[in-house]
């Protein structure tokens, strides 16, 4: 009884406890200026989102005849049916394949590299160089190298396949993932590694049995962040694929919009469907996602 209560309390505290004690509140009056800006910004953020959602439940005819900011009197799922019947499911699975196919390997190899860099760079000049290479990689924008990547994909005869999106996505997820994971592994006390070695564990065993469990929060963060990047990625699919069979969601949205330009509710329903998985993720793992986004400095 007490244990359940205890653990529940602890779980709650971990969720709600602010990172620093409240302090501004005791320092004088309410910040009216910031408060007004805050609420105003909330309106600016929410109105388009609200409009997307309510419009996606309107019949096309109603959209033109009703106030766009008033929710539909008779919400309809017609637009969602229409979108789902127009190959949405295929595009969705293409996106899932690309995201899982890129993020899974990227996180695994980045984790191994981060471990090697932290544990080995004190003794090995090679690993110090490797780390420097990854750090430099943070500064390379995808746009700048897209032309040679395109040429390579053609030479590999992978043009217009999902693999063409996956391979460069893995590469471009590596620098930031290594940075975040190695920062995290560096915080693991050295004594733990030493005692593992005393017990006769190999580096490989230490990697999986010690570093992996202790790095789990960072791994989740990196996975979510890179997942978001790949899921929303537009440039690689635009350049490296062509046929509708290989279309991923951001590209499908854009094509759909061109095809059904006038059917605003249907296009917005496809926007909702595309964003829904991420929103679910956001609701579940908000803290992890926020720290992931800030760790990734967004770009």
């Amino acid at each position: 009884m007490t244990t359940t209560l205890d653990s529940r309390k602890r779980g709650q505290a971990a969720h709600i406890a602010p990172p620093t004690p409240r302090r501004r509140s005791k320092l004088g009056q309410y910040n009216w200026f910031g408060g007004t800006a805050g609420w105003l910004w909330l309106v600016i953020v929410m109105v388009p989102l609200y409009w997307i959602v309510i419009t996606s439940f309107k019949l096309q005819a109603d959209y033109f005849s009703t106030n766009p900011l008033v929710p539909p009197a008779k919400p309809t799922l017609e637009n969602y049916r229409f979108v789902l019947e127009n190959h949405f499911v295929r595009y969705f699975f293409n996106s899932v394949i690309v995201t899982v196919g890129a993020v899974g390997p990227a996180v695994v190899v980045s984790f191994m590299a981060a471990y090697a860099v932290v544990r080995g760079s004190a003794v090995s000049r090679f690993l110090r160089t490797v780390n420097a290479v990854f750090l430099m990689g943070l500064a390379i924008p995808l746009q700048a190298v897209i032309i040679p990547v395109y040429l390579m994909i053609i030479k590999l005869q992978m043009y217009d396949t999902l693999g063409a999106i996956i391979l460069p996505s893995i590469a471009f997820a590596i620098p930031l993932s290594v940075l975040v994971l190695s920062n995290f592994i560096r915080d693991i006390p050295k004594e733990l590694f030493e005692s593992m070695r005393m017990d006769g564990a190999t580096e490989w065993g230490t990697l999986w049995r010690l570093a992996l469990p202790l790095t789990r929060p960072a791994l989740v963060t990196v996975t979510i962040y890179q997942g978001l990047q790949v899921w929303n990625g537009f440039l690689l699919p635009l350049i490296l694929t062509q046929s509708p069979e290989q279309r991923v969601l951001p590209l499908a949205l854009s094509a759909f919009q061109g095809q059904y330009n006038i059917n605003i509710p249907a296009v917005l329903a496809s926007v909702v469907l595309t964003t829904l998985p991420i929103l679910v993720l956001y609701v579940v793992g908000r803290r992890q996602l926020l720290s992931g986004l800030t760790a990734g400095f967004g770009k």
Binding site: T20, G28, V45, G120, G137, I174, L253, A295
Partner: protein, 282 residues
Amino acid sequence: MAWPALVAFTVFGLVPLVGVLVLSFSSWSGLTQDVPFSGLDSWKSTLTDPGLPHALLVTFLIMALSWLAQTPLSILLGVFIAAHSRYRSVLAVLFFIPLLLSQAAIAITYKMLLDPNFGLGASLGWGFLQQDWLGEGNLAIGVVIFVVSWQWIPFHSLIYQGGVRQIPVAMYEAAEIDGAGRVRKFFSITLPQLKYTIITSSTLMVVGSLTFFDLIWVLTAGGPADATRALAVDMYVRGFRTGQMGPASAIAVILVLLGLGLALLLRRLGGRDTTESQLEGI
């Protein structure tokens, strides 16, 4: 254990980086498997093309204006959210949603919202909103900047929130004893103390804005009449639409150099490693 990552990154990150420089000396059309080389031709034609200064101008315009639009608001919101209270953390949660949407989705949404015939302005009959937002050059740049701010101000205000929470409370208490008001405290303590945060956030904004592509492409495709044809868009159009991979590669090289130059410049201004302080305040 570092090998798999190193190989993957070298093949699709470092090799293309060298490759883009090599390709800038070619006249590849993008359609063939062989790449014909042509010396300095691509560079000559790129550097003398009036399209380049225009693309640079558009890029810098978007960069400067979006910095100006985002920074004051982000600081203001960051300072506000940094003070703890439950409803502010709820605000922060909602603020973040735009960052989760793909730029394609955001661009499509705004395109429809701002449509002069079927958009919000037309349906509500609000004259102000009922303009041809994406059909007129200056307005289109304004829309790009607004949409960028819409997506990114929440992120930067989070960075500022982290920065504000690092400021020692004692400074405020001392200022209060000296009789400083809120505004005075903001300008004499908060703003100077946020110096490094401002540099970090500005670096991200400025360098990031060099690579704006998805949003502009879906929103305006560089139009109307090249008004929003920034460098990354220019590169894409030249390379993948008109088959001039040589000049497009030259522009990509310029992009890399500009990004590096700007990052170094801002870092010198800050006198500190700009990658620090990223995880604070989460």
